[in-house]
């Protein structure tokens, strides 16, 4: 269970932060009353789960506690675990691969969430763990030195990087990426894009164009559009998911920086309201610090004693 241990270690801080509070509430022998529910709601809000989802969760918790005739405060925690796990979906959501053809993965997100780093880790995972040949396309032609950054990660992961000059048309780089991937007989093309705030219409249009070009060159592409979210982000992550989905068909979320003090609870709200599965979590800066997201293990590690 090396993976589980590592997941747990990475999530330790998350657990301590979120569950520390829940446990304080639970550890004392208490009766189930309004105050207890309020404190649970507070703990969820402090974990960035958000007011709306926290309120809903606690309402559901009340209902089920009543149904089951629970009397002791310490019976509520297992029930809350169950509820959160339910919200996170069932089972590991696999990466969408284009069996027998070139798979195109488009990676998008706002500035500074860790797109390029996640791509480096993902490339290593696909090449080493799954034996696929990966090509990277540096379509972040806007941010200074973004191309160099991707090249370093490409080298570390052993994947060739296709790049154009800084400031060039990102859709053209994506196009070249497809061409090179085909020439090299690669299995997967991962396209890095510039960070963009989701409320900037012209930048979102540019992203739409990249996706369209990919779709024109490879049928069904992008097969996977990963939205990278920073676990320190609060409720704005919901808005990010919503608006990116309006432009590109987001098929999965990569949640990064879960090894800090941030709680990442906003994914509970996201899977609940946007129905986009979390597929990966980033738990460190090493090349192998990207883990598949397993809702049950995530919830378990989150609530483990």
């Amino acid at each position: 269970m090396a993976f589980f241990d590592r997941l747990k270690a990475g999530l330790q801080k998350t657990k301590e932060a979120l569950i520390g509070q829940v446990n304080t509430v639970m550890s004392v022998f208490r009766k189930i009353d309004d105050e207890l529910f309020d404190e649970l709601e507070e703990a969820l809000i402090l974990g960035d789960v958000g007011v709306t989802t926290s309120t809903r969760l606690v309402e559901e918790l009340r209902r089920r506690a009543r149904q089951r005739g629970l009397k002791n405060g310490n019976e509520l925690l297992p029930l809350l675990k169950e509820l959160v796990a339910e919200r996170l979906g069932d089972g590991i959501a696999p990466l969408n691969l284009n069996e027998g053809g070139l798979t195109v993965i488009l990676v998008v997100g706002v500035n500074g969430v860790g797109k390029t780093t996640t791509i480096g880790k993902l490339a290593r995972h696909l090449q080493e763990d799954r034996g696929l040949k990966v090509i990277l396309a540096a379509a972040d032609t806007f941010r200074a030195a973004a191309i160099d950054q991707l090249k370093v990660w490409g080298e570390r992961a052993g994947a060739e990087v296709v790049a154009g000059p800084e400031g060039s048309d990102p859709a053209a780089v994506a196009f070249d990426g497809v061409k090179v991937a085909r020439e090299r007989g690669a299995d997967v093309l991962i396209v890095d894009t510039a960070g963009r705030l989701h409320n900037k219409a012209h930048l979102m249009d540019e992203l739409g164009k990249i996706a369209r070009v990919l779709g024109r060159e490879v049928p069904g592409a992008p097969h996977e559009t990963l939205l990278v979210l920073d676990a320190t982000t609060g409720q704005n992550a919901l808005q990010q998911t919503k608006l990116f989905r309006e432009t590109v068909p987001v098929t999965g979320i990569a949640l990064t920086k879960l090894d800090g003090t941030a709680k990442g609870g906003v994914v509970v709200a996201i899977t609940d309201t946007e129905q986009v599965p979390v597929k990966f979590i980033g738990v460190g800066e090493r090349l192998d610090d990207l883990q598949p997201f397993d809702p049950k293990q995530f919830a378990e590690a989150l609530f483990a004693e």
């Binding site: 370093v152 219409a201 609060g234 409720q235 920086k257």
Partner: protein
Amino acid sequence: MFESLQERLQEAFKRLRGKGKLTESDVNEALREVRLALLEADVNFRVVKSFVNRVKERAIGQEVLETLNPAQMVIKIVYEELVALMGGENVGLNMADRPPTIIMLCGLQGAGKTTHAAKLALKLKKEGKKPLLVAADVYRPAAIKQLEVLGSQVGVPVYSEGDQVSPVDIAARAVEHAAQERRDVIIVDTAGRLTIDDELMAELQQIKERLKPHDTLLVLDAMIGQDAVTTAEHFHGKLGIDGVILTKLDGDTRGGAALSVREVTGRPIKFVGVGEKLDALEPFHPDRMASRILGMGDVLTLIEKAQEQVDRKQAEEMAKKMLKAQFDFEDFLEQLRALQRMGPLQDILKMLPGVGAQLKDINVDEKELKHVEAIILSMTPKERRNPDIINVRRRERIARGSGRPIAEVHRLIKQFEQARKMMKQLGGMEKMMKRGKMPRLPGGGFGGLFGRR
């Protein structure tokens, strides 16, 4: 479901406003909405709690409930408490009595340190300083290259020693280098780090001990959630910060972090980053921010922005012309360009009172401005100065010249004429105002109350 903080708060107050007399439960109900609005905006849970209590204490006092317009009094209290929460007034950089001034930036990964090091350098350069950027992020791939590129974009030298040297030594030698080169402000960019990473936090402490910076700034992403407080507390506890730069405020975040960090660290937000361009850095004004949050607009910042772009004398002349309806296409073109220099139109409009919330779903197409410009540029100078001579044949030529459909040319000229007419009326109104008859501005409410502060 996802309205802005502004909208939520206005909704909460609208209910109060309809009432002549307020009961304690009216206030409580409104404050419950305020609480939810703040929580959804990612203001820290504990900060919200104490904030709402403070407002409640003041709002339920006798003098408020019995005033003539209790609703406005409550809004005023919220406004004042918001301003107080964010620290009252703008605080600038701590500058050394004897140069060089040393500024150190720190923060989590991806907060925007490198970009804001360059923005800060550009700002200082514009103020006549001679800054030096120091590349002390030796961990993130290509971080040094990024700073070097940004440095050349803003025309500020960058000191770097590659990524194989300890950041502590780089920073220390950079100070010597600055002395030789007579640079008077040193801005040190450090690697992003987690607050629980003891090793890297110790490295920051060492840099700080060696350099004794005059200003240690925490760079914080405005979209951060409840963790804002933990992050700020940890950086402050382990390092001692003097202020905060809040970045990415041009997103649609409701900026709850802005309301939390000052409360928990006692340190002010000094600057906010409002765009990807390197001049998109603004001083932080708590009172203006509170106005923006409450949907009262930020006319002061707007005026300052305009002043940066328009020469005062020119502006006065222009205003005179406008009011006399002598305004022509040449003036229009000049204004159009000044407007474009002020930044994205959408951001500018948001600063107008009452416009922000209404604008949230509308996209202002910057291209349209370009089209207008093209049409005007296809007019002869004579046509620009005497719009009245532009007949149908001239219009056809202008349409061909600018590559725009003729309907667009018609529309522009028509709008221009209407605008001229409106300005003439405004001219009349100005005289009226001078005689003491203030016309009521539409959508008032807030404006009337706070305009007199």
